[in-house]
């Protein structure tokens, strides 16, 4: 039978591990708009930084709403694309930040992601970290989408 290799991690060594606060920039607002409504030729801002009307040939093909859910440890920017009739067309996570305590304000942590815009493609393998070992609940986003629907569906023209 196979023998397991056993390691003992001294408590100090665990404590000294890199602070795993994560942030992930996925699509920019502009990219997510194009992705949600590829046929749209123009996006009219109805509410600054928050609500856009997607238009093609002078007709509305849908609405794009930017929102943010703030939890205790998680800050998530996401976008909901609505059909002209006000149904959810798609949901896309745009940015995700996770922190514990004050880590989010640490300049070193922020510096890790400075200058990462859509124009400078992320070198994911070296810069951006993959996470395993925890299933993060998407409940807050699901609740946020319901809130967006309750606020905007049927009211946008």
């Amino acid at each position: 039978m196979t023998e397991w290799i056993r390691y003992t991690l001294p408590a100090a060594a665990i404590a000294a591990a890199t602070s795993p606060a994560y942030a992930m920039q996925y699509l920019s607002i502009e990219e997510a708009q194009k992705q949600a409504f590829p046929s749209a030729s123009h996006f009219t801002e109805l509410q600054a930084g928050r609500v856009w009307k997607a238009e093609a040939g002078g007709r509305a093909v849908g609405f794009f709403i930017f929102d943010r859910v703030v939890g205790k440890h998680l800050y998530i920017d996401y976008a909901v694309a609505l059909t002209p009739a006000g149904a959810v067309h798609s949901v896309e996570i745009l940015q995700y930040r996770e922190s514990y305590g004050g880590e989010v304000r640490s300049p070193g942590w922020l510096g890790q992601f400075a200058g990462k815009t859509s124009a400078s493609p992320l070198k994911v393998n070296s810069d951006i970290r993959n996470i395993a070992g925890a299933t993060l609940s998407s409940l807050h986003v699901t609740e946020g989408v319901k809130k967006v629907l309750a606020t905007y569906a049927g009211r946008l023209k």
Binding site: T2, Y7, L9, Q35, E103, V124, I131, A132, G133, A134
Partner: protein, 302 residues
Amino acid sequence: MPDVSNRIRRAKPLLGTFVEIEAAGPVRSVVNQAIDAAFEAVATVHRLMSFHAADSDVSRLNREAFDRPVMVHDWTFGVLEASVALHRQSNGIFDIATAPILQTLALLPRFDDDAPVDERTYDAVELLEGQMVRFRQRHVKIDLGGIAKGFAVDQALNVLRGAGRIDSGLVNAGGDLAAFGADCQLVDIRHPREPSRIVGQVKVSNEALASTARRFDLFRSGQTTGSAIIGPGRLPPTNGIDGVTVRAASCMIADALTKIAMISGADSAGLLERYRASALLINADGDVQISPDWQYAVYLAA
């Protein structure tokens, strides 16, 4: 020669978690279309195998499969075939028919007409010709939460691989992930007790990785709570293992094997070997155990 590769990473809320899909290829629009199609595959798995949605294959089986054989989608049938094989190979430790117990423990919702059931069944699911499924006992209810996420990752990765003009891809469904292509991905393994710390990093290349742990809820506190994994005798495992990460060729197999390793601990070595998988066990005392064939890819925090 291809131009500069376009690497795109997107995320959507699916399967009750955040599913990240990354792909790289020479043409940006092609990469985005492939990612859309891969997300669609995950959404299809979600629709077919949700315990919560009344019209999913799983819900139809739970309502009707004792009274009459029920036909399911070939993806659902594939997951059930793997589940039955794992159930037998693990002598019943891997068991998709534990839904009533999870309902009793409030880990799954209870529906109005559900009778409270306590007994544990063996080999409760019978697979028939023509993608038909029958339950051998009344009150059996299945939940594919221990395997479907891994299957969804495999399906999404297959879509990326088959899309054409995609050089590499990664699908990560809340820690169950798989990658293909020349790139080697580094994956951080969280400490299950202290999620703000990492135990180490694992190199992943053209293979799958799945992790499971005692539950903790990042929205409420960093502290772990009880485990959502039920061992024989209805109890959470008491073997002193806090978390498990498994490497395998398929994410579905890796996902399911984490549940077995969480319950059986080091005794799962034989089964892991049979499935050509490796594991990293994080013990409550801080020790880490690694399959000997996997050390080369694991970098522990030092």
